[in-house]
Symmetry: C2
Subunit: 448 residues, 2 copies
């Protein structure tokens, strides 16, 4: 059991809202601050990739009984639809029969999460900028501008769920012994869209995550309930094929005709969107410690921003809450123990999913178009189906299990070393489904 | 030739002062801002490790004709004096006959550098806090406090030489696409001292850098001109032997008697200093880019703070100035080319010296007490003496050459791989100075 505390959360995003629901259910007073207006009253901005909810995300939602509410807003995607130029679309299933990731618009999900958190009794304070925080006393300082005098807001506990550019973390960073890194990719992204067809139908298969892999750059499309797709173009900022180069309407048109000719006809707003929507950056942020004075903790992107290529950003943030909650249930009012365990359990897993996500850009943008890669996937899939206790493919372990990310990374590296050897076997294209290959994998598995 | 510019430098430390001298000689107007009072009017604080000037540092000083001024304040150290418990002091020479690093007090050096920069015509503005900077317009905003209105100070160029916690870099960090990391060691340090003996004599050999290597922790002592030594205790913050543990006078006395019994008699102020002087942290800071809008550049610790275990911190900062100056002389008024070349030349070298410095803690604190390590050093030294064109020991390459640090790191790793094989030869203790060992090294050198 827990003694009710006065808890302040900064950030009314997905993690802040879900954390508010968890903490309300434990009987705490919860105030959620956001510097932005209530997004329920506004159009969501054109700079978001659709989210893919997977097992870790669902687990966190299910525990507080809101899985169905969210699933009603999502579309299952059980496969990749790979659009290679001059070839028919190739479908690559993500997992076993019945396994899927769920596409949902960030804006739609966030609005719903705030509704649900308000229903749970959390108090949302929008348009309120947190300018400073006392880490030792758990006081948030709010006010209209940086130069005004600020109002102190006193709490027992504060959670920084204020995203990749967290103010709370920024304050921690100014204290000594705070390890921190931010690393930007040279690739940026831009949101585009494919509107619904007649009668709100989808113009492509709606149960797929569509990928146009082109090496240095790629286009992806995720379905929405209303028949549209949210598309994202990932491309370097500078260089031969880059955002920098596409500075006129005719260059954009020419580029899409050259590289995405099967989809350009379904993007009537391409030119408007391309020049209206910002080119956004992709950053990996790591830090340590995540907690301060047993009173302040970081959670979600504020603790570990990752690049989106494994579709895990929201899922890892929701799993933070699952793990935090497990320690709350275990340690009761001992917040020192809760915070210590939360950090030591989560930090290596956040580092691992950051690495996995970083690596997956190569898989998505290049390897999905590669025959050898498809063969490799098929060999793995065949073996995994026959020996499910001996082999879970890395993608499945990350996406369809709750195995810690650090263990997934380690197992994935081990499996990769085995598959590298298998792929070097003579005539692997011919013998890929033979007993010989199976035996080779079984033998290599003994070496660990 | 250069068109005179109005240049602002933040930070009146060693790099800021030397840079001011260089820029004055090129005819620019130079203002140097520092948030602290003029250190020439104050006692220098008890939180500094003595500096070791080596070849790269001397080169930068020599170019503007001030080497002799500085050398007069320094003491050459041509060797390590290694104090292993229960054994006589062992002397390990740093380089060849006549090669030495030069011990100098940071306070003494900084005061002299400011004098020299003022004589060169630079304008120092002390007690002036820079709160913000416009990177695109090269404006510094100064003022008494964060909440007051600030005075804009307009420049053509700004150099951030304001150290590891640079305000200028802090502003860059808030812009997109700025890669940044700060990583603290779990080891901290504390300044202590050995006062001069009768008649300003040194109580130990004055031409040595004294080390008491104890594995997880170590004490070092560097000579001063006045007969004293500045000592530094490096030790973990937490754990069995740690600063955290040494919280009473009797524990400190007991600890020094147990581990540094040959020197405690020469440290009459030990207890006072131990509890008066702060325990300071050790941080590695990396960032990129170093320049912004062709108007603002970072230099020295502001661009690349490193840990002190290779004695290179000031030397790498001074070498930044040498390299910047080479590009100024080459590109004249083309500051875009100057900044681009400065960054692309220096960034990999700063990363390399950060790595070398990080690794050297292990060498100093553990390996210097290890027989195998001493043998390895002796084999290398013998071979290098016979084949100076084939082998320059890593320490010499870093300290007594101006070979780029990135090349030194690469060569050092290659040499280490060779020496690892040599040390595995049968009876290496007996045959270390044989033709067989020499041939083995010659043969391995062919493999690159």
């Amino acid at each position: 059991m827990q003694t009710p505390k006065k808890v302040g959360i900064t950030g009314s995003g997905l993690v802040g809202s879900l954390l508010a629901i968890y903490l309300k259910r434990q009987g705490h007073h919860v105030d959620v601050y956001d510097r932005r207006p209530d997004i329920r009253n506004m159009e969501f901005s054109g700079r978001s990739i659709n989210l893919a909810v997977s097992t870790r995300g669902w687990k966190a939602l299910e525990y507080v009984g809101i899985r169905e509410d969210i699933q009603a807003l999502a579309i299952p995607m059980d496969k990749r639809a790979i659009h290679v130029q001059g070839k028919p679309v190739y479908y690559q299933y993500y997992g076993k029969e019945g396994e899927a990731i769920y596409s949902i618009s960030r804006g739609v999900l966030n609005k719903k999460m705030i509704d649900l958190a308000e229903q749970a009794g959390a108090n949302f304070i929008f348009n309120s900028k947190v300018w400073d925080v006392s880490l030792s006393e758990a006081i948030l300082y709010t006010g209209g501008s940086e130069k005004e005098s600020w109002e102190p807001q006193e709490y027992d506990l504060i959670f920084g769920a204020d995203g990749a550019f967290s103010r709370i973390r920024h304050k921690m960073q100014r204290s000594s012994m705070f390890n921190y890194s931010q690393k930007f990719l040279k690739t940026g992204y831009k949101e585009l869209s494919i509107p619904a067809g007649a009668g709100n139908t989808h113009k492509m298969d709606k149960n797929s995550l569509h990928i146009w892999p082109r090496g240095e750059f790629m286009l992806i499309a995720l379905p929405n309930l209303d028949g549209s797709f949210t598309c994202t173009l990932f491309m370097p900022y500078h260089g031969a094929c880059s955002f920098e180069q596409l500075d006129t309407e005719s260059k954009v048109t020419e580029f899409f005709k050259a590289h995405f000719d099967d989809v350009i006809k379904d993007m009537p707003e391409l030119l408007t969107e391309f020049f209206k929507n910002p080119t956004s950056s992709l950053v990996t942020i790591k830090c340590e410690p995540w907690t301060s004075f047993d009173k302040v903790a970081l959670i979600g992107d504020a603790a570990h921003a990752i690049v989106p290529f494994y579709g895990q950003g929201m899922n890892v943030g929701f799993e933070d809450i699952t793990v935090l909650n497990q320690f709350i249930e275990k340690h009761g009012d001992n917040w020192k123990a809760i915070f210590e365990n939360y950090q030591s359990e989560r930090k290596p897993n956040a580092d691992a999913v950051a690495e996995l996500s970083y690596r997956n850009f190569i898989e998505m943008s290049s390897k999905t178009a590669d025959e050898k890669f498809i063969l490799r996937k098929n060999i793995e899939k065949r073996f995994a189906a026959k020996y499910p206790d001996k082999w879970m493919p890395l993608y499945s372990r990350v996406t369809f299990s709750t195995d810690p990310y650090s263990h997934a990374l380690e197992q994935g590296d081990f499996q990769k070393s085995i598959m590298d050897k298998v792929m070097e076997m003579d005539d692997i294209e011919q013998i890929w489904d033979s007993q010989e290959v199976e035996n080779k994998i079984l033998q290599e598995l003994q070496t660990k």
